[in-house]
C-alpha cells in the first residue's frame, strides 16, 4: 500500500533547540561565499526578481512600440543605448529586445526562481536534509548564472551586425546567428548561455545527488512531496538536455570564429541541424520551466483543500512520463522547415501523447479539491488561476501539435499566445503561488492577504488582456517578431498594450506587498496555513534556523502512525 507524502507523520523538529544552529558568518562571507542552501535560494530569488524586472520592462518597450502601426520608440532606445538611430539600427533594436526578453525570462527569471530559488530553499527542507549535497558547487551554480546574465547585458553594448546587440531571437537560428550577424554581440550572448547552462548542469547534479542520498530516514521515494518529485524530474531533464544546447551553441561559436561550417550548407553543413539540436534541448526546456510549477501547485492545492493529493503515484509518474516523452517531440517546433511527411506525422502523434499525462495532472488537482475544505488564501487563488490558465495554454498546444494545422499559425502570434499561456501564466502563476505560500516561511513575516488577492485579480485581468487577443492576431496571420504591422492588426495589438499596463500596475501592488511584509508584516508562525500543511518545512520555525535537521527527522509510514495513535507498538 503506497502512502503519500502528505500523510506521513514527522517527529517534532529538534532544530530550534540547537545552540549554535543560528551562528551566521559575516556579511561578505554569508552572501558572496555562501554555502547555505537557504541563503543561496534567497540570492537566486533576488536575482530572478531583478532579471524579471529587466525582462518585464523590455516587454513594456515592446508593447509600447506595438500599440500602433509604424515605428514609434525604437530610435529613441537606440540612442539611449549609445547607438546611432537609423532605419536598420532601429529595427535591429527590436530584434535585440525580443532576444533579450526571451533569454532573460527563460534562463534568468523562471529557471533561477523555480529551481535555484524555491528548489534550493525547499528540497532539503522537504526531504529532511540539513543542506544540499554539494554546498560549494551550489555557490558556483549561482555565480555562474550571474556571470551569464552579465555577459548577456554586455552583449547589448557591442556591435551585432545591423546595430548594437544580439538580434537573433532566443532560438539563435543559424545562419542568422553565424554569418548573418557580424560583431561580438552574438558571441557575448552565446557565451551567456554557456555560463548559465553550466550553472544549471551543476545545479541539476546537486539536486539529483541530494534527493537520492540525503532523504531523512523513512522518506522513501514514494513518500517524497510532489514538489521534490518535480525537482527530481526537472534535474534529470536539465542534465540530459543542457549538454546538447552547449554543443549546439559551441558549434555556433566555432562557425562564427574558427571557420567551421557545421551549419553552413556552403561547407557541407546544414542550418536545419542546428534547429534539431536546439529543440532537442528546447522542448525539454519548456518542461523544465513548468514541472516545478506542477510540484508547487500540487503542494498548495493539497494544503488549502486540507486533503492529501489525489492519486499521488499517478501525479509523480505523470511528471516522469512528461519528462520522458518530452525528449521525443522536439521537431514539432520545426514543422515548416521541410520535414519528411512521415517525420511530421510521427511528431504530430507523439506530441499529442503528452496531453494525456498533463490531463491526469489537471484532473487530479481538481479531484484533490473535490471533497476538500477549501480556504482561499493567497497561494490557493494563484494555484487555481494557474490550473485554469495552464489548461487554456495546454489545449492550444494540442491544436498546434497538428503538423498540418501548424502551417497557418507557425511563427505567428498564435504561438506567442500559446507559450505565454503556459509560461507567463502557467509558470508565473505557480511562481507567485509559491512565493505567497513560502514567503512567510522564508522571511518570518506575513504578507498582506488583501494586497495578494488584489495582485492576483489585477494580474489575472492584465495578462489575459495581453495574451488572449494574440490568438486572434495569429489566426489572422500576424507573424511573430515584427515591430511593425499592417493596420488590420491594430485593434488587438492596442488591447494587448492596455493589458500590459494593467499587468504592470499589478506588479506595483506585488512590490508594495513585499515591502509591507518586510517592514511591517506580522510575525509568521511556524505553520501559518493550518492542518493542511503537512510537509516538513512547516515543522520548522519561520524563518528556519540557519542549519536545520542536525538530528534527522524520522518519517513513519501511515500504519506506524496509525498504530501509535491507537496505543499499539510501532514496528517502524
Amino acid at each position: 500500500m503506497a502512502t503519500t507524502a502528505d500523510t506521513f507523520q514527522a517527529h517534532q523538529e529538534h532544530g530550534r533547540a540547537h545552540h549554535d544552529a543560528d551562528h551566521k558568518p559575516g556579511f561578505f562571507a554569508r552572501w558572496f561565499m555562501s554555502t547555505n542552501h537557504k541563503d543561496i535560494g534567497t540570492l537566486y530569488l533576488i536575482f530572478a526578481i531583478t532579471a524579471g524586472i529587466v525582462g518585464g520592462a523590455i516587454s513594456g518597450i515592446m508593447r509600447a512600440e506595438l500599440a500602433a502601426p509604424g515605428i514609434q520608440y525604437l530610435g529613441w532606445w537606440v540612442q539611449l543605448m549609445g547607438g546611432e538611430a537609423n532605419f536598420d539600427a532601429n529595427l535591429h533594436m527590436w530584434n535585440v529586445l525580443i532576444t533579450a526578453h526571451g533569454l532573460i525570462m527563460v534562463f534568468f527569471m523562471v529557471m533561477p526562481a523555480m529551481i535555484g530559488g524555491f528548489g534550493n530553499w525547499f528540497v532539503p527542507l522537504m526531504i529532511g536534509a540539513p543542506d544540499m549535497a554539494f554546498p560549494r558547487m551550489n555557490n558556483i551554480s549561482f555565480w555562474l548564472t550571474v556571470a551569464g546574465f552579465t555577459s548577456l547585458m554586455l552583449s547589448t553594448f557591442v556591435p551585432g551586425g545591423t546595430g548594437q546587440g544580439a538580434g537573433i531571437g532566443w532560438t539563435a537560428y543559424a545562419p542568422l546567428s553565424t554569418s548573418g550577424s557580424t560583431g561580438p554581440a552574438v558571441d557575448f550572448a552565446i557565451f551567456s548561455l554557456h555560463l548559465a547552462g553550466a550553472g544549471s548542469i551543476l545545479g541539476a547534479i546537486n539536486f539529483i545527488t541530494t534527493i537520492f542520498n540525503m532523504r531523512a530516514p523513512g522518506m522513501t521515494l514514494h513518500k517524497m512531496p510532489l514538489f521534490v518529485w518535480s525537482m527530481l524530474v526537472t534535474a534529470f531533464l536539465l542534465l540530459l538536455a543542457l549538454p546538447v544546447l552547449a554543443a549546439a551553441i559551441t558549434m555556433l561559436i566555432t562557425d562564427r570564429n574558427f571557420g567551421t561550417t557545421f551549419f553552413d550548407a556552403g561547407g557541407g553543413g546544414d542550418p536545419i541541424l542546428y534547429q534539431h539540436l536546439f529543440w532537442f534541448f528546447g522542448h525539454p526546456e519548456v518542461y523544465i520551466m513548468i514541472l516545478p510549477g506542477f510540484g508547487m501547485v500540487s503542494q498548495i492545492v493539497a494544503t488549502f483543500s486540507r486533503k492529501p493529493v489525489f492519486g499521488y503515484l499517478g501525479m509523480a509518474y505523470a511528471m516522469v512520463a512528461i519528462g520522458v516523452v518530452g525528449f521525443v517531440v522536439w521537431a514539432h517546433h520545426m514543422y515548416t522547415v521541410g520535414l519528411d511527411v512521415n517525420t511530421k506525422m510521427y511528431f504530430t502523434a507523439a506530441t499529442m501523447v503528452i496531453a494525456v499525462p498533463t490531463g491526469v495532472k489537471i484532473f487530479s488537482w481538481i479531484a484533490t479539491m473535490w471533497g476538500g475544505s477549501i480556504e482561499f488564501k493567497s497561494p490557493m487563488v494563484w494555484a487555481i488561476g494557474m490550473i485554469f490558465l495552464f489548461t487554456v495554454g495546454g489545449v492550444t498546444g494540442v491544436y498546434l501539435a497538428n503538423g498540418g494545422i501548424d502551417d497557418v499559425v507557425h511563427d505567428t502570434y498564435f504561438v506567442v499566445a500559446h507559450f505565454h499561456y503556459v509560461l507567463s501564466m502557467g509558470a508565473v502563476f505557480s511562481l507567485f503561488a509559491a512565493f505567497y505560500y513560502w514567503f512567510p516561511k522564508m522571511s518570518g513575516r506575513m504578507h498582506s492577504e488583501l494586497l495578494s488577492h488584489l495582485h492576483f485579480w489585477v494580474f489575472f485581468v492584465g495578462v489575459n488582456l495581453i495574451f488572449f487577443p494574440m490568438h486572434f492576431l495569429g489566426l489572422q496571420g500576424m507573424p511573430r517578431r515584427y515591430p511593425d504591422y499592417t493596420p488590420a492588426y491594430t485593434e488587438f495589438n492596442h488591447l494587448a498594450t492596455v493589458g500590459y499596463m494593467i499587468m504592470a500596475a499589478s506588479m506595483a501592488i506585488f512590490f508594495v506587498n513585499v515591502l509591507y511584509a518586510l517592514l511591517a508584516g506580522k510575525k509568521a508562525p511556524d505553520n501559518p496555513w493550518g492542518p493542511g500543511a503537512t510537509t516538513l518545512e512547516w515543522t520548522l520555525s519561520s524563518p528556519p534556523p540557519y542549519h536545520q535537521f542536525e538530528t534527522l527527522p524520522v518519517i513513519e509510514d501511515n500504519k506506524a502512525a496509525h498504530d501509535r495513535e491507537h496505543g499499539r507498538p510501532s514496528h517502524a
Partner: protein
C-alpha cells in the same frame, strides 16, 4: 480491494465526475453542430465566402476592363498567340477582406486552396474541442470552489484514490486525441501530395530583405519583389505594409510546384489565406504543392526571423486565369516549352537588381520607409 472498472460509480464523487465526462463527450460530439447554429450569424461574410468571393473575384477580373484590356482580350482570344509587345500588365486590385487580414476578426482568414479549406474545417472542430475542454475544466473548478469551500464543507474527506476514475481520465483524453489524429494525418498527406509532372514550377528565394520569384520552366526569369514604401500601398488601393512593387504572379486553378530557398539566412514563405507556409533555407530547396482555386490577390509575410527588416518583406501572390498568366509570362520575356515564339519586349523589365522599381521601398540597399529626407542607397 476491488478494482472493477465501474467501481467509481459507487462513490458520489465518482458519479459526479463520470457525469461530467459524459457531458464532455456529448459536448464534443454536439459542439460543431451547435457551432453552426449559434455562431453562424456573426461571420456571415466568411461563411458564405466561397460563393460570394468567387463572384467578387471574377467580377473584379471582369469589371476592370479599363485596367486590363489586353488581358481580357487574351482570356477570350487564342491562348497560343504571342502577346503584343505593348500588352500592359496592370496589377489586379485586391478585394477588401479577401486574401488579407481584417481588423477585429477572430478566426483564420478565408481559404482559397483545397487543402486550406479542408484544414479550416478541421480547425473549426479543433477550436470546439479546445473550447469545450477549457469550459469543462473551468466549470469543474468553479463547482469545487463553491461546493467544497471551507464554510460549506468544514470536514474534508480523505479520498485519495479511485482507480476507475483515474483510468477514465487517462482513457477518455486518449480517445479524444486519437479522434483528432485521423483528420490530422489525412491533412498532412494531402499537403504532401507530389505536384504532377506538368505542374507550373515557381521558385521563391528569400533575400535580406526582399523576395525573388523565378520561373525555371519559362526561361528562368526572376521577378524581384520589394515592399512598397509608406503611403504608396494605400495610393494603389492595397493594404499598407503588405503591398509590393512586383508580385508573384501565378496561374489559378492548376497545380503549382512551389519551391523555396534563400540566399543568405532562413526566411519563410507564408500566405495565410492559402494555408501555406514553407521555410526558405539557404542551401536547401523545399518543395510543396500549391493550388489556388480562383483568381485573386493573396497577401503574406516573411515568417522566420531573418534580421533587421524581417517585418518588411511581404509576399503578394496574384493568381490569374491561365491565359492571362501566360500573357504575363511572355510580357516578362518568359517562354513556354510548348510554343516556339519568343516573347516581345517585356512591359516590366525582369531584373536581378535588388533595388526596388519604386523609390524608397524598404528592400535591400534601399533607404528607410518614407524618410523625411531621402538618404542615398547604402549598397
Amino acid at each position: 480491494m476491488s478494482t472493477a472498472i465501474f467501481d467509481f460509480t459507487r462513490t458520489r464523487i465518482g458519479r459526479m465526475l463520470a457525469a461530467v465526462a459524459l457531458v464532455l463527450a456529448l459536448a464534443i460530439a454536439v459542439g460543431p453542430l451547435a457551432a453552426r447554429q449559434v455562431v453562424a450569424p456573426a461571420p456571415v461574410a466568411a461563411q458564405t465566402g466561397p460563393a460570394s468571393a468567387n463572384e467578387v473575384a471574377t467580377a473584379a477580373a471582369r469589371t476592370t476592363p479599363g485596367a486590363r484590356p489586353a488581358q481580357a482580350e487574351l482570356a477570350e482570344g487564342s491562348t497560343g498567340a504571342a502577346a503584343a509587345g505593348s500588352a500592359a500588365y496592370t496589377p489586379m486590385k485586391p478585394t477588401p477582406g479577401i486574401g488579407m487580414p481584417v481588423d477585429g476578426r477572430l478566426d483564420v482568414q478565408q481559404q482559397f486552396s483545397p487543402t486550406g479549406r479542408y484544414a479550416q474545417k478541421f480547425h473549426v472542430a479543433l477550436v470546439w474541442v479546445m473550447v469545450v475542454i477549457s469550459v469543462v475544466v473551468l466549470a469543474l473548478l468553479l463547482f469545487v470552489m463553491i461546493r467544497f469551500r471551507a464554510k460549506a464543507n468544514p470536514v474534508p474527506s480523505r479520498t485519495t484514490h479511485n482507480v476507475g476514475l483515474e483510468v477514465a481520465w487517462t482513457i477518455i483524453p486518449a480517445l479524444v486525441l486519437a479522434a483528432i489524429a485521423f483528420p490530422s494525418i489525412s491533412l498532412l498527406s494531402q499537403q504532401y501530395r507530389s505536384p504532377p509532372k506538368d505542374a507550373v514550377t515557381i521558385k521563391a528565394t528569400g533575400y535580406q530583405w526582399y523576395w525573388g520569384y523565378s520561373y525555371p520552366d519559362n526561361g528562368d526569369f526572376e521577378v524581384i519583389s520589394n515592399m512598397l514604401p509608406e503611403g504608396e500601398a494605400t495610393r494603389r488601393g492595397e493594404p499598407e505594409h503588405l503591398g509590393v512593387d512586383n508580385r508573384m504572379v501565378v496561374p489559378a486553378g492548376v497545380p503549382i510546384r512551389l519551391q523555396a530557398t534563400a540566399a543568405d539566412v532562413i526566411h519563410a514563405f507564408a500566405v495565410p489565406s492559402l494555408w501555406f507556409k514553407i521555410d526558405a533555407v539557404p542551401g536547401r530547396l523545399n518543395e510543396r504543392l500549391l493550388e489556388i482555386e480562383r483568381p485573386g490577390v493573396y497577401y503574406g509575410q516573411c515568417s522566420e526571423l531573418c534580421g533587421a527588416r524581417h517585418g518588411y518583406m511581404p509576399i503578394v501572390v496574384e493568381a490569374l486565369p491561365m491565359a492571362q498568366w501566360r500573357a504575363w509570362v511572355r510580357a516578362q520575356g518568359g517562354t513556354f516549352k510548348d510554343e516556339a515564339a519568343p516573347a516581345a519586349a517585356p512591359s516590366v523589365a525582369p531584373t536581378q537588381d535588388p533595388e526596388s522599381a519604386v523609390p524608397n521601398a524598404p528592400g535591400a540597399g534601399a533607404p528607410p520607409v518614407a524618410p523625411a529626407t531621402p538618404t542615398p542607397a547604402a549598397s
